[in-house]
């Protein structure tokens, strides 16, 4: 039962429980042309595949994944998954809307939602292409003509499968096998939507592509699947944003993102995740970087009830470079279990992880990371820095790094620090006339500055604004 069940459609309402969460409204009158029964079964999976009109191999892939999902136990580490009820989740919700290339063709209620989130506006000003997913299906996808002419493909994943089956078949599930973990198996079984991006050799997409994910229905599961293939020497920056309404019962977001960066390519993948506080966000993200390719994950985690996400780069080609910059913010009732994985397979590879986390009230943020250097990755280098900021007396932070080195010429370092906002810093700012809450917010924004400065300005502002919003009332 939604908390705000009496609300008229499209109205933004205050959410007393969640306070500052501004994206917490939901659209009550959205029509679904297909709503699978709650719970997961082979039948549900066959229905999804049939509605999408998929080739047999994809159905086989889904069923194989489902089989593994059933066998695989829940992870015993990370966050508390005990309350997650797989049987009450709706695994497939197809809104009554076709995938449009113009916002005019998007149903009014859904368009309103994205207007409120500022997506069409951003598309006009700063983006090369936009995809928007509403529950299980993509409702809008468009790439500017200029980039289409250069051979760039930016489709929803289902469209990608229809129009570029060969490329999809060759790469789908090769970076993250269904058997990788329980949630990659789940996604592989019931995936729907997500993006398919293909950037041809040498094409430099100077402005970013953006995908926006919105969960709207109560007890919804969203399982988008993204595959990004960037050919030799090409560049793309892909941005992902996520919000959901605030419901009393849990929603599940479990995405799989696979990136293949061919020799000399560079991919940057930025996420500002602001799920409402009832969403389990259990995501597997991994990239393969070939010779001299660079993959950068920028990961901002502000929302959700529990996030477990560790973007990974497999440094498979000589001289490949991987980077994860992540910010996590956990307040009361939230657990951000986030981090990164760097797998060094080839010689001369390098990686860097910078993680900044903020815990407020009884919030808990955990860094969990892996740096593995395989034998033969001569001269591999990796450096990890974790900083945690604790705002309140009982806030919690954990650090769980794993370093596994099988190569004597590697050089690997890890450092972590825990601090709080110092009284003298706040006093200094207050002495200049800045009120205490703003002074705190300023110190916090300074703390995450090393990460926000890597984001395009609009997103850096957005991230700071979100944190400032979350900080409101943090000084009693």
């Amino acid at each position: 039962m939604p908390i705000d069940e009496t609300t008229e459609a499209g109205q933004t309402v205050a959410q007393p429980e969640i306070g500052a969460y501004a994206a917490g409204w939901h659209d009550a009158d959205t029509k679904y042309s297909f709503r699978a029964e709650p719970g997961l079964s082979e039948n549900v999976i066959r229905q999804i595949s049939e509605i999408k009109g998929e080739p047999q191999w994809m159905l086989d892939f889904r069923l194989r994944s489902y089989e593994h999902f059933l066998k695989r136990p829940l992870p015993r580490w990370g966050g508390n998954l005990g309350e997650l009820d797989f049987d009450s989740i709706y695994y497939y919700l197809k809104p009554e809307a076709e995938n449009a290339r113009s916002w005019d063709d998007v149903p009014e209620a859904i368009k309103d939602t994205f207007e409120k989130l500022g997506i069409p506006e951003a598309e006009r000003t700063v983006l090369a292409g936009v995809g928007a997913q509403y529950d299980s299906e993509t409702v809008y996808h468009n790439l500017q003509q200029e980039w289409r002419d250069k051979g760039v493909v930016f489709l929803d994943m289902d469209g990608g499968l229809r129009e570029h089956e060969d490329i999809v078949k060759e790469h789908f599930g090769t970076v993250i096998a269904p058997e990788d973990n329980k949630f990659s198996a789940l996604n592989s079984a019931v995936w729907s939507g997500g993006s398919f991006v293909y950037v041809p050799k040498g094409v430099q997409l100077e402005i970013p592509l953006q995908a926006y994910f919105r969960i709207n229905a109560d007890r919804a599961g969203q399982f988008e699947r993204t595959l990004i293939i960037v050919e030799e020497g090409a560049f793309v920056h892909y941005i992902e944003g996520c919000t959901a309404p605030t419901y009393a019962s849990e929603a599940l977001h479990s995405a799989v993102v696979e990136i293949i960066a061919k020799p000399g390519a560079r991919v940057r993948y930025s996420t500002v995740q602001n799920w409402s506080a009832n969403v389990y966000n259990l995501v597997t993200k991994r990239a393969v970087a070939m010779e001299h390719a660079t993959v950068e994950w920028l990961d901002g985690n502000i929302g959700s009830k529990l996030t477990m996400k560790y973007p990974a780069v497999v440094l498979a080609g000589e001289g490949a470079r991987g980077e994860v910059l992540s910010v996590a913010y956990a307040k009361d009732g939230q657990h951000q279990d986030t981090g990164a994985k760097m797998i060094h397979v080839a010689p001369g590879t390098s990686s860097r992880i910078i993680s900044k986390s903020i815990s407020k009230g009884l919030g808990r943020s955990s860094y969990r990371g892996l740096v593995r250097v395989h034998s033969g990755a001569r001269g591999a280098k990796s450096n990890v820095e974790c900083d945690a900021l604790l705002l309140d007396e009982n806030s919690r932070t954990d650090t769980y790094p794993y370093i596994e080195i099988d190569e004597d010429s590697a050089s690997v370092g890890h450092e972590a620090r825990v601090s709080r906002v110092s009284e003298q810093q706040v006093f200094y700012l207050m002495q200049r006339g800045i009120p205490e809450p703003e002074a705190m917010a300023l110190v916090v924004s300074g703390f995450i500055e090393p990460i926000t400065k890597e984001l395009p300005l609009e997103y850096a502002v957005e991230l700071n604004r979100l944190i400032e919003l979350e900080m409101e009332g943090s000084v009693g």
């Binding site: 003298q424 200094y428 700012l429 207050m430 002495q431 200049r432 205490e436 002074a439 300023l442 300074g446």
Partner: protein
């Protein structure tokens, strides 16, 4: 403008200020001198509301308001400014962003970013600093001299009514001292008062005070008009005053 009577303060159970009386009128510049440990920096910090110190007695009237009842940011917004002896580092926060926030916090209407940066850059150049200065993180990795200049820059931008300079001369070479003093002197006006807390007389030669005070063991023991008292200290040291004070208290 400022009237201090019987002000007492402790830190970690130790009484540092043992009853300070001081009146500063609009437009006046006061020099407060004293040897190390005399409590002069504590006075500066207590006036600005540093939570490290606990006030145990006395009153401070600031433009008709009870200064001690105000939070540090309120004091700042009513025009009290402390140039810190050891400004704290605030990583990741640019000087520009910080000063704009501080500047707008005391105005009804916010100045646009463009207008503000125009104003800021003028002051930056006046202090002989490069434009890039505004993009540096607040005091992070600054040398002692850079920190001091940055304090004066803030003072020039925020244009306070009452400026308290705490050992602003320490860590500055002669050239920097000149630039900083010029900046302060430009700010002298009939409406603005300045208190200069210093160990050495040097700074007072550049910013000539209307009144000088000597602090010893938490009290103001000597006050005179003009700069002569400071010059005497420069020539004779504090020893002479100490003996005089000891004789006085015994008698």
């Amino acid at each position: 403008m400022l009237k201090i009577s019987g002000l007492k303060a402790v830190v970690e159970g130790m009484e540092i200020l043992k009853g300070i009386d001081l009146e500063v009128k609009p437009g006046e510049v006061h020099g407060i001198m004293g040897p190390n440990g005399s409590g002069k920096s504590t006075l500066a910090r207590v006036l600005s509301g540093d939570p490290t110190y606990a006030v145990t007695g006395g009153e401070v009237d600031y433009c008709g308001q009870d200064l001690l009842a105000m939070a540090p940011d309120e004091r700042a917004r009513t025009g009290l400014f402390l140039a810190f002896q050891y400004p704290v580092e605030v990583p990741g926060v640019t000087i520009g962003n910080f000063l704009r926030t501080a500047f707008n916090s005391r105005r009804e209407e916010e100045l646009s970013a463009m207008e503000f940066y125009g104003l800021l850059l003028n002051k930056v150049r006046e202090l002989g600093l490069a434009d890039q200065w505004v993009n540096r993180y607040l005091n992070e990795g600054f040398s002692g001299g850079e920190k001091k200049r940055n304090e004066i820059l803030q003072m020039m931008v925020l244009e306070p009514q009452l400026c308290i300079l705490d050992e602003t001369d320490s860590g500055l070479d002669v050239d920097a001292l000149k630039i900083v003093s010029e900046g302060v002197n430009k700010m002298r006006s009939p409406e603005r008062s300045i208190i200069i807390v210093t160990h050495y007389e040097r700074l007072l030669e550049y910013i000539v005070p209307d009144k000088c005070h000597i602090m010893l063991e938490g009290r103001i023991v000597l006050s005179e008009d003009g700069i002569d008292l400071a010059r005497r200290i420069d020539e004779q040291g504090y020893e002479h005053v100490k003996q005089q004070y000891a004789a006085q208290t015994q008698a």
